[in-house]
């Protein structure tokens, strides 16, 4: 794979440059693949191995943030004990275990909420007229382009004790005391559903757009009721969209940091926040690395399913 970029050494400079240009012309396919491939190997894949190494307290890496481990470096046997320590610490401590479970629970429930709300929205757009359709689609995509952080911030203003919703309810005389919404699990759900919804709607829309409407008509002609048609025809045919959308929400939301931090405060424990704090406040990098490896372990199966469906969709079309 590298021979395209390695000039022949014997030739003088101007000549090898011409040679290189000629070879580039001949091997351009190889170059097209090699440039992004090498980039990803270097900056995407290699870093994971280093995280794995640090989580196992491999002492070949010795830089200032690992000073705590440096104290052990004189004795090889002790080093091996640290290997187990990081993971044993996470597995033994119920805080971590509960946090993993809680993250998966919140993320899975939020994914389901996104699906239940997003599915009819996507379906409504597909069934809109030729003029309205691109406008609705644009309106759904636009929030996806505007800042994630600021969209979460918008909900801080809505959900706060002195926030818009409480002010409105008190103003209407419906409640006397503000309802506590910010810094609760409810706020985290709202935040995740709000920010991840476009990731659910877009794959669903893309899937539904390709459906053959004549199947629905045939079912209607044969006397099937609308609900029957939906559950027997539309729903099964949109399974790829449902899977893609759900995974696009579930996987990143499980490791979400911003939403639980800003909307959940200290009251909602999610693993992304624990990892971030372990790294930034406690500077405990080996534990942070072990937390990351464990999170990857939980997410690797959904990721593989996602890749399988992504690969399939690009081949089919």
């Amino acid at each position: 794979m590298t021979d395209a970029t390695q000039p022949s050494e014997k030739l003088p400079a101007s000549s090898w440059m011409r040679d290189l240009a000629r070879r580039a012309q001949e091997n351009w396919r190889l170059i097209v693949i090699a440039i992004p491939f090498v980039w990803l190997l270097f900056f995407f894949l290699a870093p994971f191995f280093i995280v794995a190494k640090i989580s196992l307290a491999e002492l070949a890496i010795a830089s200032p943030p690992f000073t705590r481990m440096m104290e052990w470096s004189n004795n090889g046997i002790v080093t091996i004990r640290i290997v187990f320590d990081n993971f044993a610490y996470i597995i033994d401590d119920p805080l971590y275990f509960d946090t993993y479970l809680n993250s998966i629970k919140i993320s899975a429930s939020a994914t389901l909420l996104c699906l239940l709300l997003g599915y009819p929205i996507a379906y409504a757009i597909v069934r809109s007229g030729p003029v309205a359709k691109p406008i609705f689609l644009f309106l759904i995509i636009l929030p996806f382009w505007t800042s994630f952080l600021l969209r979460v911030y918008a909900w801080m203003g809505l959900l706060a004790d002195q926030g818009t919703i409480n002010n409105l309810l008190i103003g209407l005389g419906l409640i006397d005391e503000p309802i506590r919404m910010l810094y609760t699990e409810f706020a985290v759900y709202v935040g995740i559903v709000y920010t991840y919804m476009p990731f659910m709607i877009l794959p669903l829309y893309a899937n539904m757009e390709r459906l053959d409407g004549s199947l629905n008509e045939a079912a209607a002609d044969l006397g099937a009721r609308q609900t029957t048609t939906f559950f027997r025809i539309t729903l099964p045919l949109t399974k790829p969209g449902i899977i893609a959308g759900s995974l696009l929400v579930f996987i990143p939301a499980t490791g979400e940091y911003v939403v639980p931090d800003l909307l959940g405060g200290g009251n909602v424990q999610m693993i992304g926040r624990v990892l971030f704090n372990e790294f930034s406040r406690n500077s405990d990098w080996p534990v942070a690395s072990a937390v990351a490896i464990m999170l990857l372990f939980f997410l690797v199966v959904p990721m593989m399913i996602f890749q399988y469906f992504q690969g399939k969709s690009s081949e089919v079309r």
Partner: protein, 280 residues
């Protein structure tokens, strides 16, 4: 599908759009609030905008974020386009599964994992070869390119599969060499995807808090890092003002891009119809 929407679907769509836009609308309205307490209305004012423009800290962060976003978008578009071409047009090659996996994974990878892994990677690398000697602009940009090229690649792949290969095959039949076909036919027809890919990479970079927080160094405060450090302590009217400016700027950019792409598609459609007519 040409069937009409049922009433239930119309209601869901309306509620959905209200859910999307009411929080943003309120954010914008409260940016013009004279009161220091965000949810308490104290009359219209533009004082928070003035305060924002006078803050040197804000300007520095904006400038750094814009620089990173432009460099990132350019490199990500380049790498993402090459990756998309390789995946769609080159058939099978050795390592395609691994390549495809590495290209898809960043789309869903939790940001805390990407951020942490790149940080420890940069630190190990600087131990090993002395580069990068400090963290900041370069490390953030590299991190951003790595995840945003995946989004560009997806955009390019969708366009490549969507536009089919007939024109390329025709050019090849007429004797054009593969490289010529690529530069004369494929790349120009990819333009809409390249524009949206570039813009997507640009906004992704401008938006990233978590990964940048991991790989940044002292003195390099990007705009999201600055915003986050401020809103963590509660609501702030100047952040509402900043949000309003960002939302308006991004909406205009996205609208222009959408119109450009829509027009090119229309023109392409017209050309095709003309070509068919001439044939007939």
């Amino acid at each position: 599908m040409t069937q009409t929407r049922s009433r239930f679907l119309t209601v869901m769509l309306t509620l959905g759009l209200a859910f999307f836009y009411i929080p943003i609308l309120l954010l914008v309205i409260y940016s013009f609030n004279n009161s220091k307490l965000v949810p308490v209305w104290g009359g219209w004012s533009t004082r928070w905008y003035q305060e924002l423009f006078q803050s040197e800290e804000v300007w520095e962060a904006v400038l750094l974020s814009l620089q990173i976003a432009v460099v990132n978008a350019t490199f990500a578009t380049l790498l993402g386009t090459l990756a998309g071409l390789a995946m769609v047009r080159f058939g099978g090659f050795r390592g395609r599964t691994l390549f495809g996996g590495m290209l898809v994974a960043p789309l869903v990878m939790p940001e805390v994992i990407t951020g942490l892994s790149l940080l420890v990677f940069f630190i190990s690398l600087s131990e090993l070869i002395g580069w990068p000697s400090q963290r900041g602009f370069t490390t953030i940009t590299i991190a951003h390119i790595t995840f945003s090229m995946a989004f560009v690649a997806v955009t390019v792949q969708a366009r490549l599969t969507g536009m089919g290969q007939t024109l390329e095959e025709a050019a090849a039949d007429l004797g054009a060499k593969p490289f010529k076909v690529l530069t004369a036919i494929t790349i120009p027809r990819l333009t809409p995807a390249l524009i949206s890919g570039w813009l997507l990479a640009f906004t992704l970079s401008l938006d990233d808090l978590v990964i940048a927080s991991f790989v940044t160094g002292p003195g390099s405060t990007t705009l999201p890092i600055l915003i986050f450090s401020r809103i963590r302590l509660g609501l702030r009217p100047d952040i509402n003002a900043m949000a309003t400016i960002m939302i308006i700027a991004i909406s205009i950019c996205v609208a222009i891009a959408a119109i450009l792409i829509f027009r090119q598609q229309q023109a392409e459609l017209r050309d095709q119809q003309m070509a068919f007519k001439e044939e007939g």
